[in-house]
Symmetry: C2
Subunit: 323 residues, 2 copies
């Protein structure tokens, strides 16, 4: 199994003609989660050919415009497209008042239910849970209340061995219990250990999202062995003072966090427009953490237990950002 | 002299990957006016290579998202770029409260003065005036309070004939009076008629913007002989009932308004995504008005007294919308 992460925008602060502000689409266990929603996110969703009507949950890390100014447009489009499925939005409390006024001002009564869930940035908190996936928020340290998000698969069922079903003539009604880890009692009363009947499931995958934040080593209390860690790297080490002042991070610091959290892979993004060369971000982070990748607009990552791959969607020669 | 109009977006309602919502940049007499500001306008401004720091006046026709959801992003970028020049915004009263809450929520104290001018849609009103240009609003008829805008050059000075300056030895101090249309009195007391000394100035140019609106024949009381009339054409005549219901217009109706207002040229836009063929809009309007042009994203029109021309910016083959 794998999850898919599509970068809709990886820029910071002021968008350019080639760089959209932050937005990401995560597909995990067939659930679609939108993580932040900078201006133009809905256009990028269309370019990525995502089935965006399947997004039922939107997570907003903080109320800086480059992370949420795309919400009114996207929510309006859902309205105009006659969406009926409830849409859940998770974000700071002020966001609700702003969305209410937005739709009040435009005289719009949304045709679908909008369910708002207020986040807090004091401690790790469960925001969403179903049978396969959990989503947590956790505090980051920025110039305004900001949370990161941790998306993780729930532990999976054990894989029952077909050969053992045949050998012991196990009935269908017992199989779920065995998948859940229980031993099995044969007709003759003999107890067959679960470990004989099953093999370990693939470990759950997880995606940790950290933007925007200053260097925060204690993130290792919130994130442990993420399959993929996204950590902002607005600056390079040469500008680490600027990073500290503005409560952002450098690529080197992002690499350190990947090491501290024992993550499998690191993705960088939220690059300041002051730098021309994005490879420099990668090289810098790799001084601390080798499995480092660069976010780019419309880059899609596929992450499984053993591998991480990416492809650039819409990568016609004339449109590829040379950076 | 001429004015320049750059179409940043010409779509309606739901943006697609190829069509931005409404925004236009008008350059008239070296003044830059932004007319509506749909989501993504700031990116399109960058793509058009406009000097967007020179925009000092933004006109918002009405509070439907596809006409103003790009404002927060653009205004934030001005802030981040340390703009100091005052920015004037003209729009419906609710817009101010929304912008205030937007920047309140994001904890942003804009570093430049934002001056809000409330529009009304009862009657024609002067919104802006300086020595060379006037801008008026006028009521349109839509599902929400909506105004059109009329940008017009002020009458220009008469052109003084150099040969006459020499012939009569006219002194510099008299020239401005003559340019203003006054007769001139020679040293011998003879009155020289202004018409002998000057020739007519080029007539003032004007641009009339009508979006969104249902068919409104009495627009001819507001607009007369516009050098260029932009009139929305969300629908084709085959869907005229739909146009009436939603208080939009058809291309045929736009052509009729161009005729009624005796405009020189007509530009269509605000196309519904339901149609594949934009040439059909042009053909339909031309049944009523021959000098019809199509708005397209990043198309720049240059309008003078005798001519209208356009070029498509950024028109690499892979990016040109085939529509």
């Amino acid at each position: 199994m794998s999850f898919e992460l599509t970068i809709l925008g990886c820029g910071s602060a002021t968008p350019t003609s080639k760089q959209f502000p932050t937005a990401q689409l995560l597909k995990m266990q067939e659930r679609f989660f939108l993580v932040d929603c900078g201006e133009g996110a809905q256009q990028q969703l269309r370019r990525s050919k995502a089935k965006f009507s399947r997004i039922n949950h939107i997570f907003i890390s903080h109320l800086h415009g480059d992370h949420f100014f795309g919400l009114p447009g996207l929510l309006s489009s859902f309205h105009l497209l006659n969406r009926s499925t409830p849409l859940h939005i998770y974000g700071p409390s002020n966001l609700k008042a702003w969305l209410d006024l937005t739709f009040g001002s435009t005289n719009t009564n949304l045709v679908y239910p909008l369910v708002f869930h207020e986040t807090q940035n004091k401690e790790k908190a469960l925001l969403f849970e179903d049978d396969k996936v959990e989503v947590f928020s956790f505090p980051l340290r920025h110039s305004i209340a900001t949370t990161g998000f941790l998306f993780q698969e729930k532990p999976k069922e054990r894989n029952i061995l077909k050969s053992k079903i045949d050998e012991y003539n196990i009935e269908v009604c017992d199989i779920q219990n065995i998948k859940n880890g229980k031993d099995w009692i044969a007709a003759n009363g003999k107890i067959i250990a679960n470990t004989e009947l099953t093999k370990d499931p693939t470990p759950p995958l997880s995606y940790a999202y950290c933007s925007d934040t200053s260097y925060l080593p204690k993130l290792n209390e919130r994130i442990h062995k993420a399959s993929l860690l996204y950590h902002e790297s607005t600056f390079l080490d040469v500008d680490k003072k600027k990073a500290k002042q503005t409560k952002h991070s450098t690529a080197l610091q992002a690499g350190k966090i990947a090491t501290l959290t024992e993550s499998e892979n690191l993705m960088l993004g939220h690059y300041s427009v002051r730098y021309d060369d994005r490879e420099a971000f990668k090289a810098e982070a790799q001084q601390e953490f080798i499995n480092t990748f660069l976010a780019r607009d419309l880059r899609r990552f596929t992450v499984s237990q053993d591998a991480i791959e990416f492809e650039d969607l819409n990568a016609s020669k004339s449109e590829v950002d040379k950076l």
